[in-house]
């Protein structure tokens, strides 16, 4: 997984939108517009169309997602096994971050109470 732009650090400013797209696709395959509305529903943020397709191109180049065949112009994308593994890694990392953050915050508020 170290090859290709699968690592968050290599995605640069697209790291966060990439995360949103991966989470969205982990539920089910979706085309671009469905990803946008889904991200707006669960992510409380919105992806611009340019950003969305920049992310899709990167994830596809990194082998994390793949395009599916489609009858109309709207092409759905699906999470690959590599993509699911990368997302799991990222979420585990974020979980660790959350735990440490909460722990430190608790320490800080208790310190302030004293």
């Amino acid at each position: 997984m170290g090859d290709g732009p699968s690592q968050a650090s290599e995605l640069g400013r697209f790291a966060e939108p990439a995360m949103l797209v991966l989470v969205s696709l982990s539920a089910s395959p979706k085309h671009g517009y469905a990803i946008m509305t889904d991200v707006e529903a669960f992510g409380a943020t919105s992806l611009g169309p340019g950003t969305l397709y920049a992310v899709l191109a990167r994830l596809e180049a990194g082998g994390l997602i793949e395009p599916l065949e489609s009858d109309d112009r709207r092409r759905p994308y699906r999470l690959t096994a590599a993509g699911a593994a990368a997302l799991a890694d990222q979420l585990a990392e974020m979980g660790r971050f959350l735990r440490i953050g909460r722990m430190r915050l608790r320490g800080a508020t208790e310190g302030a109470d004293r």
């Binding site: 085309h31 671009g32 517009y33 946008m36 169309p49 340019g50 397709y53 920049a54 191109a57 395009p67």
Partner: protein
């Protein structure tokens, strides 16, 4: 459905290989969610990003079968037509067109900046500086801040470079009387601009001895209500700002409305004379 011009324009920023791969689905997306200004900017910036990251240009679609092995191309320029630049595929933006567009965008941005700068320069000042309206506060607050204002000493308000003069009390002060008028009406107040009408030096505070203003630069001397006396080169009295007391009792000075001081025509034209000689100044 016919593709809107805006969509075609936006997608034209992307490089041709990108358009071949993503163009159709991207246009479908734009039809479902017509882009606003923010989305348009997002698309243009992503398109430039796609141009500077050609390695991200996608390979063939999975649906298109196994990867196509590029053929060995024959020399693309036959000897006979050497020097002829091959034109890009129809509908694609050539490197030259792209460069032209960037130069055009740069020139447009530059002229926009010039226009903005010019407008900003012409824009009137509303909140600070000369031209703004200043709210000095209620008379009661001014008297608390400077109790001598009630007995005729001018209240200096630095942000507007103005003296607020309590006219009846000030006249009494200049005549040597002790009168307290803590609540003058708006027409009993004067806002004198502390800029000497001679060359613009700041007029200093009232002098204790004569109760006059004498400019330190060239000695132009004014009485307590700002009328020009004999001394000094200024040709008129101190200029005044429009002043009102609003419904909440706040004294408001409008520095966009300036009334020029009366010309210095001689002693007999003064509206107020203090007991000192016409031709002396503060030392």
């Amino acid at each position: 459905m016919k593709t809107p011009r805006l969509h075609r324009f936006l997608i034209s920023w992307y490089p041709a290989p990108w358009r071949e791969r993503y163009g159709a689905e991207f246009l479908a997306l734009l039809e479902e969610r017509p882009p606003g200004l923010r989305q348009a900017l997002d698309i243009v910036s992503a398109a430039l990003d796609a141009r500077i990251h050609p390695q991200l240009r996608p390979g063939p679609l999975l649906a298109a079968g196994p990867p196509v092995v590029p053929e060995l191309r024959p020399p693309s320029v036959p000897l006979g037509s050497y020097g002829v630049v091959p034109s890009p595929p129809a509908g694609a933006m050539s490197r030259r067109a792209f460069m032209r567009r960037m130069v055009g965008a740069g020139a447009a941005l530059l002229s926009l900046e010039f226009l903005g700068g010019t407008l900003a320069f012409l824009w009137p000042q509303f909140r600070s500086g000369l031209g703004a309206k200043f709210r000095l506060g209620r008379l009661a607050d001014i008297v608390v801040q400077q109790p001598s204002f009630a007995t005729g000493w001018p209240f200096s308000y630095a942000p507007a470079r103005a003296f607020l003069v309590n006219v009846p009390a000030a006249k009494a002060l200049a005549l040597g009387q002790e009168v307290s008028i803590p609540d003058p009406t708006a027409d009993q107040l004067l806002a004198l601009w502390r800029k000497c009408p001679h060359l613009g030096c700041q007029v200093p505070s009232l002098c204790e001895t004569l109760k006059r203003f004498t400019c330190r630069c060239h000695g132009s001397t004014y009485n307590i209500i700002g009328e020009k006396l004999k001394e000094g080169p200024a040709e008129r009295g101190m200029d005044r700002f429009a002043l009102e007391i609003d419904d909440d009792g706040i004294v408001v000075i409008d520095t966009a409305l300036i009334v020029a001081g009366a010309p210095n025509l001689g002693q007999e034209y003064l509206t107020f004379a203090d007991p000192f000689p016409y031709d002396i100044k503060c030392e």
